[in-house]
């Protein structure tokens, strides 16, 4: 069965199923969402208006038996950054949509009557739009619980929480995972775009269809090699044990752990919030150190963090969220951080953007650094209820900075800078500055080479080699983000010679094509240039590819370094 484009128009509540245009055939995931946004969205449109479109696409290998292929991409013009945006997450929906033959779901327009909410239900025939009342105003966990009862537990669910309904710029799109918890297409406020279209959730019908594989035998062989490369990689082992939070101690040791709203590079309480402490706590309390966010993952970096009585506290407890509430807000108590993380999962709000916003609010004196209980209260009482203060925080770090006159506001293109200080880890500063989507470590994860010794070594404090490093990683990432693969395959791909060829073999066997490594690089370059062209047409210039002023003026301990890479050097990123 050929893949199709499923199109939903929320202005007239119509739906249709279309053939895939030839130019989109070889695309999936981010490559497809960005291509469609660039082709169909007016770059200068209001991101929450009828002219923006929300695109949802599984990756090229999603729905197959290939390991780690279950990422789902959401794309639109971001209301947070004003740039093009793609955010991807695990969960069960990517595989299910791919099996239904959904190449992409395009949601356009918006209802003229804003008093009603709707749901979408997707099956092989197309999309059904229904008015929804029962779960409106409810948190993500209640949405999933209600839909499990109404539709059955096997349905995939893509939903927004109260943050998305209120069109907060930090709102994410959440995807049900195999254990009925949430995985988040976190960054850039895509939940607000879904809310602006008055869609509370998208339900995906379970099905037994199989995606077509052009050469099943070759696929099986490549699949085995690929999975082995992931499983054998020592980094996968550490990820399975400690999760991504294994990074707290090494980033702290390197002096690049932004602390107390980016005023120091080391956090005194690092050990209390570290991956090692988290692992010991989970084991002692009877939680699950290992957990997969989507079926077919062999790395299992997720976990279930238990409370003191052994009950569920949160899951998918990531380094960046723990860093932001921990070091950046100086909360040295994992239980408070876990509680806040779980509330944010329920509200459907980005745990990086929101936690960095709290750091700025602490600097402004709205609450005290280190007050984890107050963070939780404000999430429940202010953000969840949409009070004026709650909306200021829910609209992100830049919003808090503007509301309270703070000058130390760690954002690029209005998106919060995550867990690695660009003064002490300069490669990631190039990624923050030049990314087509605002500050985002996952766009070109130079930490691998700057700090972790993966894919070679580039001194994090040197000005040399950082642009090339970031460029190569941003190109590779754009390609990987198109396959439906989790980005953590990159650790194996960078250092195990069997991994990337096996991935290319998988693509070739799936579609009966003959890609070579250069084609994959070219795909990555094309995606970046497509995204960049959209941003330029939306009014961005190279002057937007800059870090906030304070990074150049305030040295950070322990290395006492500032951001010192010239604007000309930053701009040379685009010389390809």
């Amino acid at each position: 069965m050929a893949d199709k484009i499923f199109r939903v128009n929320m202005s007239d509540l119509s739906t249709k199923v279309e053939a895939v245009p030839e130019g989109w055939m070889g695309l999936g995931g981010r490559g497809l969402t960005s291509t469609i946004v660039a082709a169909e969205v007016i770059p200068t449109c209001h991101p929450l208006g009828k002219n923006n479109k929300l695109i949802i696409a599984p990756g090229l290998l999603s729905g197959t038996s290939a390991a780690n292929s279950g990422r789902l991409s959401c794309g639109a013009k971001s209301p947070l950054t004003g740039t093009i945006k793609e955010a991807n997450a695990g969960g069960t929906s990517a595989q299910m949509l791919a099996k239904l033959g959904v190449k992409a779901l395009i949601i356009e327009g918006k209802p003229t009557n804003e008093s009603k909410w709707y749901s979408l239900q997707v099956n092989a025939e197309g999309v059904t739009i229904k008015e929804e009342t029962e779960v409106i105003g409810r948190g993500n966990f209640a949405v999933v619980e209600t839909l499990n009862k109404r539709l059955g537990e096997k349905f995939g669910v893509i939903t927004i929480g109260p943050a998305g309904e209120m069109k907060m710029l930090g709102a994410n799109i959440s995807i049900k995972d195999p254990d009925n918890h949430m995985r988040s297409c976190g960054r850039g406020g895509l939940g607000a775009v879904m809310g602006s279209k008055k869609i509370k959730y998208i339900a995906v019908e379970p099905n037994d269809q199989k995606v077509a594989i052009a050469d099943p035998e070759a696929f099986k062989v490549a699949s085995r090699t690929f999975a082995k490369a992931l499983i054998d990689n020592p980094i996968s082992k550490a990820l399975g044990q400690y999760g991504t939070n294994v990074l707290v101690n090494i980033i702290n040791e390197s002096g690049g752990l932004p602390t107390r709203n980016f005023t120091s590079g080391q956090f005194e309480g690092h050990e209390a919030i570290s991956g090692e402490t988290m692992y010991d706590t989970i084991v002692a309390r009877g939680g699950k150190p290992k957990h997969n966010c989507h079926p077919g993952c062999v790395i299992n970096c997720s976990q279930v963090y238990a409370d003191a009585k052994g009950g569920y506290k949160t899951s998918g407890f990531e380094y960046e969220s723990i860093w932001a509430l921990g070091a950046d807000c100086c909360v040295d108590n994992l239980d408070h951080i876990a509680e806040a993380d779980n509330i944010m999962d329920d509200l459907g709000i980005d745990s990086i953007e929101t936690a960095v916003a709290f750091g700025v609010a602490m600097e402004a004196g709205v609450l005290k650094f280190g007050d984890g209980a107050e963070v939780c209260r404000m999430l429940r009482e202010e953000v969840a209820k949409g009070t004026p203060l709650g909306r200021i925080i829910g609209n992100g770090a830049g919003s808090v900075g503007r509301a309270y006159g703070v000058t130390r506001v760690p954002v690029v293109k209005n998106q919060a800078i995550p867990a690695y200080d660009p003064r002490a880890i300069k490669g990631i500063g190039i990624t923050y500055a030049t990314s087509t989507q605002g500050a985002d470590h996952t766009m070109g994860y130079t930490i691998a080479t700057n700090i972790l010794g993966v894919g070679g070594k580039v001194d994090p404090l040197s000005k040399e080699g950082q642009v090339e490093l970031s460029r190569n990683l941003q190109i590779a990432t754009a390609a990987i983000d198109s396959t439906g693969m989790c980005l953590f395959i990159a650790f194996a791909a960078l250092d195990d010679a069997t991994c990337l060829p096996a991935l290319i073999d998988l693509l070739n066997a799936r579609f009966g094509i003959h890609l070579v490594a250069n084609d994959v690089t070219n795909l990555g370059m094309t995606i970046l240039k497509t995204e960049r062209a959209f941003n330029l047409a939306a009014g961005f210039t190279n002057k937007d590819d800059r870090l906030p002023e304070f990074f150049s003026e305030e040295p950070i301990a322990p290395h006492n370094v500032v951001w010192d890479i010239s604007n000309e050097t930053i701009d040379s990123f685009w010389n390809f």
Binding site: P234, I235, A238, L239, Q241, Y242, G243, T244, N245, V246, L247, N249, I250, E253, S254, G255, E271, G275, E276, C301, Y319, E320, H441, T442, Y445, I447, A448, I451, L452, G453, V454, K457, D459, P460, L461, L487, F488, F491, P558, H559
Partner: protein, 74 residues
């Protein structure tokens, strides 16, 4: 010379988090790793005083040496 040695992730199992210890002058990072029963090829990253270092480097009196297995995240 007295050094502070810090271990991370599963290198802590049956060893320690942090310890002050005396080593003969000229001891290399690799010597210290081997003395802890860690195979050098299991080591991902080493840092002296928060700067990356090589296995053949010789720490100086009072240095802090951090030893990590191969780890990643993001």
């Amino acid at each position: 010379m007295q050094l502070t040695v810090k271990l991370f992730a599963y290198f802590r199992d049956n060893r320690f988090k942090q310890k002050q210890a005396n080593y003969p002058e000229g001891t290399t990072v690799e010597d210290i790793i081997r003395s802890l029963g860690i195979k050098p090829d299991e080591v991902g990253v080493t840092m002296i005083n928060s700067r990356h270092c090589e296995l053949h480097q010789v720490p100086a009196e009072g240095d802090q040496l951090a030893i990590f297995p191969m780890i990643g995240g993001g």
